[in-house]
Symmetry: C2
Subunit: 139 residues, 2 copies
């Protein structure tokens, strides 16, 4: 007979029950992906309330660590994210949110589509950043 610990692990990994796990800080990582283009827009965090609000309303909510508050993405920026599909990983402590972006189509507070607008270039002399997407000019 397998140990109870092993059963619980297998159930979390191979079962159909949604049992999201949050860390000691009450948070889990959520990666937002452009549902149309398939690329990563941002990495953020959800607590249980943000996850439940996202699933219930299909409008993506995060937990803002800097503000210490529930954050319905787009409330101030207009850059809303409508949930198209949510996925969970093997041990149920990370999520992918496939989203449709509202507003001006951006996800990053710098005005860009994606927060990942720089590539890390490393060699023996160290590492520096190269821009993939320039700063959006003010209209």
């Amino acid at each position: 007979m397998a140990a109870p610990g092993r059963d619980a692990l297998s159930d979390a990994e191979e079962g159909a029950a949604f049992q999201p796990k949050f860390g000691p800080d009450g948070l889990a990582t959520c990666v937002a992906i452009d549902a149309e283009r398939g690329d990563v827009l941002m990495v953020a965090h959800m607590n249980e309330a943000a996850l439940q609000a996202t699933l219930a309303t299909r409008v993506v909510h995060y937990w803002s660590r800097s503000r210490g508050a529930l954050w319905r993405k787009g409330d101030t920026s207009g850059q809303t994210q409508r949930l198209v599909e949510m996925r969970v990983d093997c041990d149920q402590d990370a999520f992918l949110a496939f989203v449709e972006v509202g507003g001006d189509g951006g996800a990053c507070h710098t005005g860009r589509r994606s927060c990942f607008y720089r590539r890390v270039e490393a060699d023996g002399a160290g590492a520096r950043l190269a821009f993939i997407e320039a700063k959006k000019t003010q209209s």
Copy 2:
């Protein structure tokens, strides 16, 4: 004159200096992406040593929270990840690693290509999981 805090923030977001930020636990989130297909394989963590080893060797290293040890991905599974490109987000506390997967092409310890093999299906009655990728049968 802008406050020093604002200058530092702008430099981290708009500069070319690589200044990775790690949390109170010494870790930052890294999302591994299949460089060829463009989809997310896994979400894991890096400490500074894992990040530096990854950039220096182009073989992806993580920090295993369960084992409390530096983890060169693939050492036991054969599922190595060769770094093709690394990106960093606006506040430099999350990374994307575009990788070529070795071994049998899997990234997940369950034997699957991606750790995100289940979709969350939610309605008024609650949430459950639907499998996108079945469990790999033993050969």
